[in-house]
Every structure is written in C-alpha cells, then in structure tokens.
C-alpha cells in the first residue's frame, strides 16, 4: 500500500476535503497529473475538470472543479478551487449556464488573445460536460 499524504480541497466558501489520501488526480493546466506522497514541489494552475481523490482508507471520491490552482509539496497537496462540488451533486443547469457564459465571452472577445483564451476555456467546459453527462 502506498504512503498516505495530506490533501486539502478548499473553495472560497469552505474547506471541502481535508484528509489523508493515497493519490490525487489533478486536471493541471498543462495536462492531468497524479499526485502521490513525496511529490516534488509544484505549483500549477488547474483547468475545469474532475479531481479524483483516492483516500487512504480505500474510498474514492470525485469532485468537479472550475479553475483554480494547486500547491504541491512533499508533505501534502492543497488545491484551491474557484468552485468545487462533488460529482454526484453537480448541477447540470449550472454547468450549462457556465458554458453559455463562456460562449458569450468567446463571442464578445475583442482581440485574438482573449478570444483564444475564452475558446480554450469553452472547450475545457464542454469536455467536462461530455465526461459527466453519461455518468
């Protein structure tokens, strides 16, 4: 059995998770990454996606996060999410609203840079939606 480390998932409203875990899969801005104990210190932004937490006691929890960043040190991992919900509590209407907003942002973007940024965000959201829908 792998070594456990401390994982915290914090949203501005509250502390969602704070427990000993075996591994965490984080949707990093530059690709998904699995964090295990004694990981090298990394700080990364995250994109909208699913965080999978495998706790030391054996259970597995999945959370949907919408952007934020992760602070990883050998002793633990802190994920500061802009907004986070457990997968089973995901509000489809809310997700649809976010996608709608992203679409409008992409349409309203004035220069190429912000447009590509908005479109990228939109693509991430739609991937997330398609990953969740059949669940």
């Amino acid at each position: 059995m792998a070594e456990a480390f401390k994982f915290e998932l914090v949203s501005p409203e509250r502390l969602l998770v704070s427990e000993q875990v075996e591994s965490v899969v984080i949707p990093g801005a530059e690709g998904e990454m699995t964090v295990m104990a004694n990981h090298a210190p990394v700080m990364t932004t995250i994109k909208p996606g699913v965080v999978t937490v495998k706790s030391a006691s054996g259970g597995e929890e999945r959370y949907v996060v919408f952007g934020g960043f992760a602070d990883i040190v050998p002793a633990g991992c802190t994920l500061l999410a802009e907004s986070a919900v457990a997968v089973k509590n995901v509000d489809r209407a809310d997700l649809a609203r976010r996608i709608q907003d992203a679409k409008e942002d992409a349409a309203d973007a004035k220069d190429d840079q912000s447009r590509s940024k908005a479109e990228q965000f939109l693509a991430q959201l739609t991937t997330l939606e398609s990953a969740l829908l059949p669940a």
Binding site: P12, E13, A29, M43, A75, G76, T78, L80
Partner: protein, 294 residues
C-alpha cells in the same frame, strides 16, 4: 395631559414595538451565527492564498514580469473606492461608520487634487454617499436579492474592478468595509487592493516548505491568474466580514431598542397608575365633600 385612554394606547403600542425589536434581535442572533460560520469557513482559502502568493512573489523576486495589478500604474491620480455596506438599516451606526470613513477619505483625496470614483456595494452606503458625491459614483452593486453570499457575488465585483483597471480608469483601488471584531465591536477599515500590497514573504510555512517550486506554467503566468483571484478573495472576505458585522450591529441595536422600550413602558405605567390614583382620589374627595355639605 394625556387621558387615561391615551396612556393605555401608548403603552400597548410600545409593547408591540418591543415585541418586534425583540424578534428582530433574535433573528439577527441566528443570522449572526450563520454569517460567522461562513466567515470562518472562508478563512482557510484566503490564508492559503496568502501563503501561495507570498511564495510566488518570492520566486519572481520582484522581477519585471509582475502583472500591472500588483505593481500598479506608477501613478496615483485617480482613486477608485469600493464601499461595502449593508443592504438594510436598523443596525445602529454600522453603515454610517463605514460611510463616514469613506467620506473622510474622499475629502482628503479631493483636497489633494486627486480624482475619485466610487463603486457602492449595498444600498445604504449608496444612499449616504449619493447626497454629497453623486457625480463620483460610477456604479452600485445590489446584493439585496442574494440570500446566501457566494463567491460568485464577490467575483462579479472583482471582475468589474479589474475591467475598469485594464481600461485605465483608475490607478489605486481601496476597499472600504467593516472588520468584524466581535458582536459589539465592528471597526470600519480601508484596505488597498490595487496595487496589491506585496504580501510579506514569510520565510517558511509550517512544514518548512520554502522549497524550490516547479511552476507549471511560468510563475508570471500563474501570478497573473492569481492576482485577480486574490482580489476577488479579498472582496469576498470583506463582504463576509460585513455580513457578520451587520448582524452583530443589528443585534446590539435591537437589544438596545428592546431595553429602551422596556424603560418607556415602565415610565408610562407609572404615569398611568399615578393618574388613575389621582382620579380615584379626586372622586373620593368629591363624594366626601358632597357628604359633608349635607
């Protein structure tokens, strides 16, 4: 001289008022507990944010690629004041304290020949500042429809502020809110959020993790993502503290009102009793003197 009936009515009406203030006090107490819990729950996020921010600024070491939100525009000609107050009154001096602090600040800035712009969050602050500085108010944010204060509300305000900053509409942004010390003490506070005061780089965190981080993507890029978020967090914290403070102030204001109503009822009852007695005595005298005259 009010008649006995007038006094009776008066006492009844004060009693009714007392019941209302008592109920409001209890409601405020319940809401205060919830607001305090919310403020408490939000604390870990802002604390972590602070330490992460300190780490990154240390890594960048004040390099040239720090985003403008942090370094500022290099001028301080135009000031934006974000004044957060409550949506409702009946909470003692809570709103007027914040407004007074903001007004003093505005007066000082104007005397120095600076330009001032205001964004009002909450109806009460808007009502007060509108009297003197209506022309300076850019915008007002209404949170009356909001039942439970969420991060989205703060984020929307932050977005507005950052948008204005990117347009070059102001140089310095200051946030006015009331810091929640305790139920009976709320301290109106002014906090500069743009340019962000560089967080004091604490040498080490609890686990001695001033380690060399790997950044993904580049630190500058993370920072430019982080700073706007930090502004939203600051505003969120201010709103939560305000919410708790408002309820605390309302609770003590309503407690005072209930006590005052009690005092008034006592006084009125004494007058009422005295007058009733006077009337009885007067009637007795009339009867006795009538009997004596026979």
């Amino acid at each position: 001289m009010p008649s006995l009936k007038d006094l009776r009515n008066r006492i009844a009406s004060v009693k009714a008022t007392q019941k209302i203030t008592k109920a409001m006090q209890m409601v405020a107490a319940a809401k205060l507990r919830r607001a305090q819990e919310a403020a408490e729950a939000a604390r870990p996020y802002s604390e972590r944010m602070g330490s992460v921010l300190a780490n990154i600024t240390q890594a960048i070491g004040g390099g040239g690629d720090a985003p403008a939100l942090m370094t500022g525009t290099g001028k301080d000609n135009v000031h934006l004041l974000v004044v957060c107050t409550a949506e409702r009154g009946l909470c003692g001096g809570f709103n007027s304290q914040i407004a007074r602090l903001a007004r003093d600040h505005i007066r000082r800035l104007l005397a120095d020949g600076k330009q001032v712009k205001i964004i009002c969050v909450g109806k009460k602050g808007f009502d007060i500042l509108r009297r003197d500085y209506a022309s300076l108010i850019l915008d007002r944010v209404d949170l009356r429809e909001v039942k439970t204060l969420g991060f989205v509300n703060a984020d929307a305000i932050a977005r507005k502020v950052i948008h204005l900053f990117n347009e070059g509409a102001f140089d310095v942004c200051t946030l006015f809110y009331s810091q929640f010390k305790s139920v009976i003490s709320q301290v109106p506070t002014a906090q500069q959020i743009i340019p962000a005061a560089a967080p004091s780089a604490k040498a080490e965190t609890s686990d001695g993790a001033s380690a060399v981080y790997e950044y993904e993507p580049e630190p500058g890029e993370i920072l430019s993502d982080l700073i706007p978020r930090n502004i939203a967090v600051q505003i969120f914290r201010a709103l939560l503290e305000n919410a708790a403070g408002e309820m605390g102030a309302k609770m003590s204001a309503m407690d005072n009102a209930t006590r005052n109503a009690g005092e008034m009822i006592n006084k009125l009852s004494i007058t009422y009793n005295r007058q009733r007695q006077a009337q009885i005595t007067k009637e007795l005298i009339e009867i006795i003197s009538g009997a004596e005259a026979l």
